[in-house]
């Protein structure tokens, strides 16, 4: 359980402007300098300018660790799921396939999985993660729950349902107040096209 004054990670996808400041800053983090571990997804550029940043969500029961045959993925006492341990990782990519958020990536050049560790070198000494410090839109924020509740209209939740699989994460996501859990139904994966942002249809008027 998180303490009242503890700094937490909050993602608000609706704020993201796709600028990639997070991607560029991630590789400046000392634990993995030169390698960016955050993902910035462009959803469907043909239809929309929507983008979404994806850090590791740091699951309470990390699926990546559960499926690792080499026991190479460890969670710290403060709930941060670390990158794979170099001596143990066998590069099998089970974690890559299993993570519901698509976070771990296998890096062939070092035959090892690397993933976001919430800038452990920074957060463990009271600094904020690089991505959530530089993010110019507030899509990524590292602050107290009290502060986020005071300054945002949405609510912060950390419960997800992927098909039948319930997942609880350390990282929060901002959602409208009526939402208690993010349900990701299997049939929605793969993407449906939308005309919501089609300027041509906006111009047709009412």
């Amino acid at each position: 359980m998180n303490g009242v004054n503890e700094l937490e990670f909050f993602i608000d996808y609706s704020r993201c402007i796709g600028c990639k400041a997070c991607v560029q800053a991630c590789e400046e983090c000392d634990t993995h300098r030169g390698v960016s571990l955050i993902h910035l997804e462009t959803i469907m550029r043909a239809d929309s300018v929507q983008t979404a940043p994806q850090v590791c969500m740091h699951c309470e029961e990390p699926i990546c660790a559960q499926v690792c045959p080499a026991d190479a993925i460890k969670k710290t006492d403060d709930g941060v799921v670390q990158s794979s341990l170099k001596p143990r990782c066998i590069g099998c990519s089970n974690c890559v396939l299993a993570c519901p958020f698509g976070v771990p990536k296998y890096r062939a050049e070092i035959n090892q999985m690397m993933k976001c560790d919430m800038c452990y070198d920074r957060t463990s000494v009271g600094k904020r993660p690089m991505c959530a410090t530089v993010c110019p839109s507030g899509a990524l924020t590292f602050t107290t729950r009290e502060h986020i509740e005071r300054t945002r209209q949405g609510v912060a939740i950390r419960e997800w349902m992927f098909g039948g699989e319930a997942v609880k994460t350390k990282v929060n996501v901002m959602v409208p107040v009526e939402v208690q859990r993010v349900d990701v139904a299997v049939e929605r994966l793969g993407g449906t096209r939308t005309d919501q942002y089609d300027v041509a249809s906006l111009l047709m008027g009412d």
Binding site: K20, A21, Q24, S48, S137, V199, A200, D206
Partner: protein, 740 residues
Amino acid sequence: MAKPPVSIPELVSKFGPRLNRVPATGWSTDVEPDRVVKTHCCFCGQQCGIQLKVHDNKVIGFEPWEDFPFNQGRLCPKGVKRYMQDEHPDRLKAPLMRKDGAGFVPVSWDEALDKVAGEIRRIQQAYGNDAFALLGGASLTNEKAYLMGKFARVAVKTANIDYNGRLCMVSAGAASKKILGIDRGANPWSDIPKAQAILVAGANVAECAPITTNYLWQARENGAKVIVMDPRMTPIARNADLFIPVRSGGDIGVFNGMLHVMIERGWIDREFIARHTTGWEQVEEAVRKYTPEYAAKIAGVPASMIVRAAEIWGPAPTSFLLHARGIEHHSKGVLNCMAAINLVVASGRIGREGCGYAMITGQGNGQGGREQGQKCDQLPGARDIENPEHRKYIASVWGVPEESIPHKGLSMVPIFEAIHAGKIKGLLAVSCNPMVSLPNNSYIREAYEKLEFSCQIDFFLSEAARYCDVVLAGSLMEEDEGTTTNVEGRVIHHQKAVGPPADARVDWQIICDIARRLGAGDKFNFNSSREIFDELRLASKGGISDYYGITWERIDEEKGVFWPCPSPEHPGTPRLYEGGKFAHADGKAHFQPVEWRPAAEETDTDYPIILTTGRVVSQYLSGTQTRRIGALVDQYPQPLCEIHPLLANKLGIADGDFVKVESRRGSVTVRASLVKTIRPDTVFVPYHWPLDRAANNMTVRAIDPISNIPEYKICAVRVSKAPAPHDAIAELEMQAGGVR
């Protein structure tokens, strides 16, 4: 002789743009910084606070500066990777002289400076003083901008100095001055989240002023309704409460239409208008015919959107207007801005907390760069070069006879027209790259080719520097100390992180050295940039942009000081026009009636599509710096033509196809990006690239009659599918103008 001495590919192979991908000390984390320097980003007008890590006189990385109030550690990708321009293989480290057929060869400073001074003298003796022109820039510190203005009037004695803020801020500035009396954003950014209605007109905030996004979103969290006007659904438009996909050049339709509805529904502050303004009757008369239906035809959007905009803006208790180049880059740019500002003054919502207006200044020192006297019509302190009192005061500061100060000279585009006409024969430029940034690019290239002598102070061999006889190796922002003035009017302090490399010199010393050779050494006897700032303070004293009370120490202590700040005891002025006191002599705001007129070049049957140009988030202006940073180039490597699928289908164009975008003046061949987020009558090409990838090959050389800003945001083109280009330019790396 101002032609490239060898072929472009040969110059590119020697001087770049090449990509720097690795920090000066590698990606290793073993190297501890000797120093961490609290300073500011060198790029846009947000001027975000940032800390640069320095080791062994090299900038090796950055750390966010969370205590700086404006951005609180936030940065865009350009700010994050800015340090990669230091220790760059393309960096100019010595003066260069053009040798026909051989390229640019390093020479001694004496040889280079003697040549520059000699050519200035020769040209002026042969053709008159005004035959030599100077170009400055809004990436210069206040100190350098001030020095350029003084250098022009006192050392070179030419009337013809202008700067690249002419391509950026002048429409906003002229409109703001006409109505409110001061060319500066009226409010600090901290007022934005306190506004209940926000109108963002022609500003791609997410890409061009990314830090401002958080201010907008915070306003929305506080309950504000946000209206965005743009021909493209930009990232901020996606979440706006009302997105108006206005036709480029149709903005006055929206503004006057909104005002029409506001008058009709009684959403006008008549008491404020009576007490604090003049000219309302003419405005009321002018907007009478702008019914939503009439206005909608001009704006190219449904009338209901204009009504809805008025319903959001009209009755709001607090409000904030933001506009940028989207409405300013027009041959009616000043009119567009005045129509927008009329909405603010008519509501009476200005000069209070959460109520106000700001233009989003684009360039790093876009604000300060337009105050210190490097504009063709201006003296320091935002003074008027034709006002006898102003001339007298500045003459006394400079210690020169008033009559020796030249009168108003030509602005940026007319300078190039005067080169074509044979009236201007020599050019010295700093902090600008007209070969990418000016419209109708082939015309600009031909002008360079007609010059007898051209010189540029530059840190990289920019596309314009290729057309020079002498290139003087100058300094990056982090290699010198000085001040800039951010988008809010907050004067801030850039610290020197490192010295210029090898034989490069700080810009102000170069300018002083030329002045000495021109016989004006006693007026340019500065030993430090601080001494220049102190003279600037005095020169600005009593002017509109009064810096007299601002010292570098105060800036550091107070994390910036807002001008006007007339005395050391004065707290500075974050918010202008408090209590309805405007800056005209009568203390009132002067409404300006605005009538829409067409663009210089509207579409026709031969050129049936609107081209609009702009920026992408990972590149900055002409790309001289950002097209050399690998991570930023990877993010958006080459210009794409955004085109709506409806239009693309009609033209038989698929996503990723090569297309030729062609106007009466020139063309580019680039790949198409099919997106539904743009109007189907409009295509968009970003402008950061040179040569056959330059969006400014197509743009029209038409300028606003008042501000002289070029019309970058609308011209007529045709678009067709094209074969993949394989010529020598196309084969260059993408950052150099190649295409893949």
